[in-house]
Subunit: 236 residues, 2 copies
């Protein structure tokens, strides 16, 4: 099957490395390389729609944009809602009572709401907080996604469903697509396509699931993946 | 005076060239170079706040973010409104009747609304449309700004006031700042600081007003300006 589209996570995958949100110039090269070979890049992010769609314009990716961990898509100026509804205010207040800090992007979100961990908490306390958040959210029938940066309260089925809907919009089947991501919230997206990859500094749970583990971190890993995909296409 | 901050337009200034919205890797280098020398970069854009603030995170600029042509600022997660109100619905409908297409970002804007020209109009028709839009807007006491990409209906005083307010927020005086832009909507911002620059492919009206005209286009010109500013600082 010829490769027609690549779904890509943003934070930790197109950035300098996991934990650094500055975009990588290698990732930009990788995106433009794929696009110049006719492969559409689809950003699939936990960010809000305007942040993800704006980034897509500036990075030069031509595929649809999937935001809010799969909940909302933009393509050619049209907005498509994959999820419906949003977490109730009472739930969001409970999270703030636990010390979680709402993302400034929540004002621009439709469905998936994001929170940062309290400042200065250690890994143990983080894990404990995540468990507490999951309990609260699950009581409301909502999922909790941890991106490595933010806790997301998500009323949908995650990035995988978002990517499949985006592929549908451009008439590409999942068998003609690949995907790359670094976080646990990318796992379901990585499992809906036949070819998956991750940067060298991805979460361990991601590294064991993907076909291609890059040597470089973050966006350097994305560029490796892009080159590997194109070389693979030439061999076939 | 030591240089402490640089206000920068985005479209046409940090992008590959005027008319190409893909971000320039040279511009990214320029931003990170300034930041590594302790000079805060302040994005000053006609884009919506979430698009500009998201871009600032990914580009790695640490100054406040000025969006909507000076109407709204974000710094450390706080939003500051420089303008008040927004263009009335009747006015926006009139523009659509003229064939102008609303930007997808309008849904995420507070004050300044943006429209694209109808597809396939020539330069003469564009100028005529701009005159018609100005007449309608001025009847409502609103300004019209043309960025080279979009027509903005702006209820404020433009980018200059936005940049000054942003500098205030970080305790930097205008005399310690520089600015760079390529479009006519950047002129007032370029005039509120002692040192101004533009890329080599800036609008002619901008080229005649600034101190430094770069040779390179777009973001390559931004990198030249950044290096020139830092070398100038060392000479003084």
């Amino acid at each position: 099957m010829p490769l027609k589209a690549v779904g890509s996570d943003v934070d930790g995958t197109l950035t300098v490395r996991r934990g650094d949100l500055r975009v990588s110039v290698h990732a930009i090269r990788g995106i433009r390389l794929l696009e110049s070979r006719g492969v559409k890049v689809i950003l699939v992010s936990g960010n809000s729609l305007p942040v993800t769609a704006g980034l897509s314009v500036y990075l030069g990716s031509s595929g649809p944009v999937v935001a809010e961990n799969g909940c909302v898509i933009m393509y050619r100026g049209q907005i498509y809602h994959v999820c419906s509804g949003r977490p109730p205010e009472g739930l969001l207040r409970k999270l703030q009572d636990l010390g979680l800090r709402p993302s400034w992007q929540n004002e621009f979100r439709y469905h998936d709401m994001a929170f940062f961990m309290p400042r200065g908490v250690d890994e143990n306390s983080k894990a404990e907080l995540l468990r507490a958040v999951s309990e609260i959210a699950e009581a409301h029938g909502l999922r909790v996604l941890w991106s490595g940066y933010a806790v997301h309260i998500n009323p949908g089925n995650g990035k995988g469903e978002g990517l499949l809907r985006a592929l549908e919009l451009i008439g590409v089947s999942a068998s003609e697509a690949a995907a790359i991501g670094d976080g646990e919230n990318d796992l379901d997206m990585l499992s809906v396509v036949p070819i998956s990859g991750c940067p060298g500094d991805a979460a361990p749970a991601v590294k064991v699931k993907v076909k291609f583990v890059a040597r470089g971190r973050g966006g350097a890993g994305f560029l490796e993946f892009a080159r590997w995909l194109l070389a693979k296409g030439e061999r076939n």
